[in-house]
Subunit: 305 residues, 2 copies
């Protein structure tokens, strides 16, 4: 339960020896997602012990190379590993053509089914939902059509207060599901025991907001309000605020401003431009606005536990 | 002068932590070529100090992912590095569509010109020639249309025998080009000095044959006869000869048989299947047929010097 985010790459533009383009592996409420997939992601998955078979759903924020050039290789590797399970890919319109044209020319039609969910709305949408998790798009401002993604645990069931329940011989283990769902219990005498006497409040559902790449966009604040973890790109520092705006990116200070205004619990920065030799400068700048800041590093894990 | 081959990747199928898919950097007679470009090639180029600006010509053998999934990333990186020089790409028909569709969707049209030379002949062709080097295709047998490439230094000019030349005061430094071209020299007296008295024979032109991926194909022997260096894939050992044949690959023994029959100077093996934990077995098997065998390893250099 809770979340565990593994950074598989967090640098911008070109892959370098120790600077890997964006990819993240998110485990949230027992679900497993890959977010973006720059070149070399599958190697980083192996290095960071991410099980290939765990990935059934991939979210691609936008079609700039540093966010998706590793996707075709991963799809191909799934095929070589004899994958049979369906793979769902959420990404901008065009992603299906990009992948299918490569599969066609390499004559390596994979045996498993790939289901593309092409996105083109500029409004936030609920794009994924199962019994554990909901995922919404966070429309961003970049040079090409780009979405961030908000991952939300669904409301959890109440927890049984065992010592309270044991006081009533009529309450059987078969009744627990009703109690977890919040129902009161009627004793044989006809008396009703209120649910709150028999259960504890459930854990608060957690949420993770992933925002890359984007210029400063305050309209996302409402969407990500109170998120437990926010990844927000910070390609530049304030010294390059104009360049950030021009290229559709953010400064560390702008990322921190979003974090503060959205009242998130924790901010993770990444997508650093290679012009900065010292990434600690990003943290320093952000902390002038918002205290709980961490730097994404390849291999680093952020966990709710 | 001569050749220097740097292995940037030599493993088959999927990229793994320490097993990189096929790519080679060849310097031959002052020319610089990239051969195949699996995922992660640009990172291997950086690790092995291959200058990005040296690459003006790329040869892609076939459109299986482990031979070209790194190409779009490299092209994109050239753009980010503000490349202005033309880039020539030789590869199977389809490669232009694969690359252009990705550039289109990422809206990252590069500023330099990419010239695609799409190949579809099943006969050997001269596909590249300048004043230093010729490159021929070596049609191979694989599951998709595949070429190897034969790189040949052009005939070199004769070398001036300085001590012999100095005996004749009429011979000026301006005459050296004629002497290098093999011309005799006429003295003021009318006597003719034969070129062979004034020059040494030039160095023998060197050649490198790259053959990956292919099943055993003896018809290539005539083409690569006497090559100074042969890279021939050996995905399998003889224990999997049937599988090799079925999948369009070769065994180490078959690669060595080609090397022996073609009378090459040296054989380099690669494209090892991950099923073999010990690559030394490939060398051992090949040496039962042909002695001068080396194993490709990422970062290993094979040089004529």
């Amino acid at each position: 339960m809770g979340y565990k985010l593994t950074i598989l790459g967090c640098h911008s533009a070109t892959p370098r020896v120790n600077a890997h383009p964006t990819a993240q592996y998110l485990e949230i409420n027992s679900r497993h997602f890959l977010i973006d997939c720059g070149e070399g992601t599958q190697r980083q998955m192996r290095l960071n012990k991410v099980g290939f078979s765990k990935i059934n759903t991939i979210f691609i924020s936008h079609l700039h190379g540093d966010h998706f050039f590793g996707l075709i290789g991963l799809i191909s590797t799934f095929g070589i590993l004899n994958r049979e399970k369906e793979l769902h890919i959420y990404g901008p319109k065009g992603i299906k053509e990009v992948i299918n044209i490569q599969l066609k020319h390499s004559k390596s039609y994979v045996k498993y089914k790939i289901i593309f969910h092409e996105l083109n709305s500029t409004e936030s949408e609920l794009i994924f939902e199962d019994e554990k998790v909901k995922v919404y798009t966070i429309p961003l401002n970049h040079r090409v059509y780009t979405n961030g993604f908000l991952f939300k645990e669904k409301e959890k069931s109440r927890k049984i207060n065992i010592s309270a329940v044991k006081k009533f011989k009529e309450i059987d283990i078969c009744d627990y599901n009703n109690l977890k769902a919040g129902k009161d219990f009627k004793l044989d005498s006809g008396d009703v025991i209120e649910n709150s006497e028999l259960t504890y409040n459930p854990e608060k559902p957690l949420s993770y907001a992933y925002c890359s790449d984007t210029s400063y966009k305050p309209t996302i604040i409402e969407m990500i309000e109170g998120a437990d973890l926010l990844y927000h790109e910070s390609t530049f520092l304030t010294d390059k605020e104009d360049l950030a705006s021009k290229t559709g990116h953010s400064t560390a200070k702008q990322a921190a401003t979003i974090a503060k205004k959205a009242n998130v619990k924790k901010l993770v920065l990444g997508h650093y431009s290679s012009r900065y030799k010292e990434v600690s400068l990003f943290k320093k700048e952000a902390q002038e606005v918002f205290k709980n800041v961490s730097l994404a590093e390849t291999g680093r894990v952020f966990s709710s536990k």
